[in-house]
């Protein structure tokens, strides 16, 4: 057995882009896909080098499948979109920011990586 497989035996195999339910938003597309979007949008501020974001990724993919088409989940890589992260005062990753009709209604920083917690985090703010 190879040790590097011992490290994360129960970790899901990584996503492939064809299975990706979460669209990557950049500074150029943020306004169109988040602020001008109709209905609820959840923006995940993340970075690929963040171990906690990696754990969150399959959870968020599953949640994205559960909430579509009512909600859209997008990701914003703060390593690239530093200005966007700064303008939304993102202090760390992962941070989920919930937008409704372009307005931030809630945010969750460092959610526990399980489907029920994340699902509640991304749906409850829109139920009020």
């Amino acid at each position: 057995m190879r040790l590097n497989t011992l490290r994360s035996p129960d970790r899901e195999s990584p996503k492939r882009s064809s299975q990706d339910r979460i669209r990557t938003v950049t500074g150029g597309t943020f306004e169109e896909l988040v602020l001008d979007a109709e209905g609820p949008v959840v923006a995940e501020f993340m970075s690929y080098g963040c171990a906690h974001c990696r754990v969150m990724e399959p959870i968020l993919q599953r949640v994205a499948r559960l909430v579509e088409p009512d909600e859209t989940i997008v990701r914003i890589n703060i390593a690239v979109e530093q200005r966007l992260a700064a303008s939304y005062a993102v202090e760390g990753t992962p941070t989920l920011v919930m937008f409704l009709d372009g307005r931030e209604v809630s945010r969750v920083e460092g959610p526990r990586p399980d489907v029920s917690t994340v699902l509640a985090a991304v749906t409850q703010p829109f139920e009020q």
Partner: protein, 178 residues
């Protein structure tokens, strides 16, 4: 694409490294320097992992960006990938100055490779402790900068009278705000 990567021959392995990690950057720099041959060619080229999953998939269709940041990856010319301790062993095998040492990783005792296993463990330990030496992607300042960062935060809290928590850039506990 780095100049070294542009010059690389197609039979040269590519070492992917985390450009946001101080330890990884230093190791990559050492590998780059050590991989140079007198003729000017390189036995290994290194390149930062970057932020574009599609670029990595173009290098190897099984290469996932999350995996690349998790574990060291060496892309072999035949299209295969070596990861973790196996990648470290292959790098040492390809460097002119460490080739002799790398022979030990092939030593097998009853189907068990003790030196390779020791390297695997060494890699895992280094991989886990490297944020201590500074890692931008983990939000950890370099060890020598830590006291200054701490002092700055504490000084700020004394001046404005508010207690400033030492920030954890990668959250592990949930905070909600409506």
């Amino acid at each position: 694409m780095t100049p070294a990567l542009e010059k690389a021959r197609p039979d040269t392995p590519i070492l992917l490294f985390n450009d946001e990690c101080g330890v990884c950057r230093r190791i990559a720099k050492w590998v780059e320097k050590s991989a140079s041959t007198p003729s000017g060619a390189s036995t290994i080229v290194d390149r930062p992992i970057g932020d574009d999953p599609e670029v990595l998939l173009a290098l190897n269709q099984d290469l996932d960006i999350w995996d690349a940041y998790e574990t060291i990856h060496l892309l072999m010319p035949d299209g295969s990938m070596k990861v973790g301790g196996e990648a470290c062993a292959e790098v040492l095998r390809r460097l002119p100055r460490t080739r002799w040492l790398a022979q030990s990783f092939n030593v097998e005792v009853f189907g068990f490779r003790p030196f390779q296993r020791a390297l695997d463990v060494g890699y895992l330990v280094l991989s886990d402790v490297r944020p201590v030496f500074g890692c931008e992607s983990c939000g950890t300042p370099s060890a020598w900068l830590k006291p200054m960062v701490w002092a700055t935060k504490r000084w700020g809290s004394l001046v404005d009278g508010t207690r400033v928590p030492v920030r954890t850039p990668h959250f592990t506990g949930m905070r909600t705000s409506d």
